[in-house]
Symmetry: C2
DNA sequence: CTACATGCAAATGCTTTGCAACCTA
DNA sequence: TAGGTTGCAAAGCATTTGCATGTAG
């Protein structure tokens, strides 16, 4: 798990990182693949997966631990929360400050050694909220 | 999505529910399958998946939205949080009261219509914590 | 009876991996 | 040149689904 390899700067990595930084949509690997392919038509989805993994191990990006099925990636490596649309899975940042006290509150009550926490809000984005009222 | 069918009480459903209620390990579908098969050797994994889905729609059990890969199920349908071991994926209840105020705090700051939230702690269970110190 | 449920197997969807060819330092 | 990286295809794993058969109400 620990990084010991000498990672190289490849065209593929550069483009993935650049494109990810342009997006604030918290894309999945496949969505990143679609965008990156416009610059590197021969890149494979496997390479995208591998590089997203490497970049997150290097702390260049953040792998999001959201409850939905697929993994998502975020160029913002600072601790922050998200809100996900139950209907279309759009993911936005949740404008709420990190709850740093939480882990301390739990500390004395659990046998686990606490490492961190994830907080995720579930809701309906404006578009889906509109659609729902038409049903 | 809404329940309109007339659900029947089948042997399979009864056993799945009974066995799940005996466990406080928040098992995955496959783990439930293994246990239930001791009573109903011919049950299929597909049936287990289908019934866990039905039971959670009926509110008899809770489908856990955890960040790990696989879905987990909980007989406790009350709102509560969990703590997951990063190493072995053991899931315990987190002894901390629901943060009811959270969604109100976000209410005015987001364009989303908020439905709920998930809070999950990440940590090391005692066993894995012990193992880790030996490495 | 009849609509719902089951078992089985095949299919799906996301992600990972083996491998030979190919680069980067 | 050596060791990391890529593209490709195949494999992996959790979950879902089609269908003929079975069964609860």
């Amino acid at each position: 798990m620990l990084q010991e390899k000498n990672h190289r700067i490849t065209k593929q990595r550069q483009v993935i990182l650049e494109e990810l930084r342009k997006l604030n949509t918290h894309p999945s690997a496949d969505e990143i693949y679609k965008v990156v392919r416009r610059h590197l038509p021969r890149i494979s989805l496997g390479t995208v997966y591998r590089n997203l993994e490497v970049l997150s191990e290097l702390g260049k990006i953040q792998k999001l631990e959201l409850s939905g099925s697929l993994k998502r990636f975020d160029w913002n490596t600072k601790k922050h929360y998200h809100i996900r649309c139950v209907r279309c899975n759009r993911v936005d940042d949740a404008p709420i400050a990190p709850l740093n006290q939480l882990e301390n509150d739990l500390y004395k009550a659990t046998v686990f050694e606490i490492i961190g926490h994830n907080l995720e809000f579930i809701g309906l984005c404006p578009e889906c909220s509109k659609k729902n009222s038409h049903n």
